[in-house]
Symmetry: C2
């Protein structure tokens, strides 16, 4: 496995593999790997001849007062894990190379960035879309891998790819969880012991929602009330939103039908955690 920081070197490596007829998988990350990242890399390794893992803590997707400075970083450990998971290259550009001054160009995806995390994190998805487009242009891969824990992010990237005609397939990978159900996140490290235990309620509440749906519940407000009741039972959890939306446009649903995303965000101690359930329901017969 090779560590590359230079754009030209990265382009040359891709070009060489292209010439050899290799398919190319890209796993864009902010580093500080956990088993969720590893599963993305393993999927990429399985489906492509060459795998590039990018590690870049992207300043433009953090808002003022968010944790850009504190975001955990550990390149040495990340490199070991990536190599084990089958990565061929780590692309680790410098902030000043990604955003040379004056930096002026941004990509906005409208509408689907307004709700859920976009409502509180203004500009977050513009930062995400912009950096991902840059990575796609530096590393023109066949497939790019993203985790469904960040479902809105995946949808924003899918929509950008569709709208801007990027010639890349977006592979959506399932959320990887701790044994008590907590979704893996680099931000879980902000939790102390008590907060860590309490955080399990996030997924338990989504599971309970899944059970309500299995029993036939289709009323979004009932689902949301069920989740909120469980979240409220944990003092250390401060919910930010609980929403039931259609996956394609991320618009709130009254009645569950089609591809449904049940998404939540909550503050737990210093951490802001998110989780979701993506369910494909047959269209109601009526």
């Amino acid at each position: 496995m090779k560590l590359i920081t230079s754009f030209d070197e990265m382009r040359d490596a891709v070009k060489e593999h292209r010439r050899a007829g290799d398919s190319i998988g890209l796993v864009p990350t902010m580093g500080f790997f956990h088993a969720g990242h590893v599963s993305l890399m393993e999927s990429a390794d399985h489906e492509n001849d060459m795998v590039v893992v990018s590690i870049f803590v992207n300043p433009t997707q953090f808002g003022p007062g968010e944790d850009f400075e504190d975001y955990p970083r550990n390149l040495d450990r990340d490199m070991e894990m990536a190599e084990q998971a089958g990565a061929d290259y780590i692309f680790h550009p410098a902030v000043e190379d990604m955003y040379p001054r004056p930096y002026l160009t941004y990509i906005s995806v409208e509408d689907i960035t307004e709700g859920l995390c976009g409502a509180k994190r203004r500009g977050h998805f513009t930062g995400v879309a912009t950096v991902v487009a840059k990575l796609f242009n530096i590393i023109p891969a066949d497939r790019a891998y993203f985790g469904l824990k960040d479902a809105q992010q995946v949808r924003v990237i899918e929509k950008m790819v569709e709208d801007l005609n990027f010639n890349i397939e977006i592979a959506k990978c399932p959320t990887i969880r701790e044994s008590d159900g907590l979704a893996l996140s680099s931000r879980n490290m902000y939790l102390n012991g008590e907060e860590r235990s309490a955080a399990a309620i996030l997924y338990r509440s989504l599971q309970a929602a899944g059970e309500m749906i299995s029993r036939g519940e289709r009323d979004a407000s009932a689902i949301i009330a069920g989740i909120n009741k469980l979240l409220d039972s944990e003092e250390l959890i401060e919910p930010e939103y609980v929403e039931v939306v259609d996956y394609r446009l991320l618009h709130p649903l009254e009645e569950l039908r089609g591809e449904v995303l049940i998404a939540l965000a909550a503050r737990v101690g210093k951490a802001r955690l998110i989780d979701n359930l993506l369910i494909n329901l047959a269209q109601s017969p009526d």
Copy 2:
């Protein structure tokens, strides 16, 4: 020469030429060709193995009340001219294929789109940047050709390419003019005989500015005053702006130095016409 309207067919043609080792030149246009377009195509033909000319009157770069509906179109004549000029493919997509509903993704280039034409044509350069990025993704060329008559547009595209790391060279081609100096533009067809004669003052005023500079004038306000005086001498000309800016950031200059753009826009009858002079001045010794 082949006419292509389908994205997949266009991608396949590019891929085939890539496989054969051909270099690819792209000339993005809105059609209704004149000698300015022809010169872009000839440059592209000279410098590349394969030339794609796109013809797409892009709705997102027209503001409300602008001339999207009236913009002149003549595909048959365009195809003849393009073939003569060395084009191998015309890419002519449908509006509903370029902007399928819901269309949500836009590229903004900040700051350099605020002045000059951007001040009056809000959203215009977002439409331009967005459609050009789409074309670059559908037709990943080695070089793309743009005319310097639209100097701000060229600068916006150069900046987008730099910021988003598109792997494409932007070739800037000189403005082609009528014998009396009027810059060729598809919009010149909106002019009646009297307006057409009067419009020659646009370039004459820029030439006069060039002469002032040759004689040593470096004060932007004197240059602007000189141009305005000439424009005011023609009753049929209604100036929109006359500005002296640095080419890189398009910020107004007080004293001329470096790469200087002298740009103007004016209404002449139903037409809104633009023209400019790009001058490279040695840095002042002081």
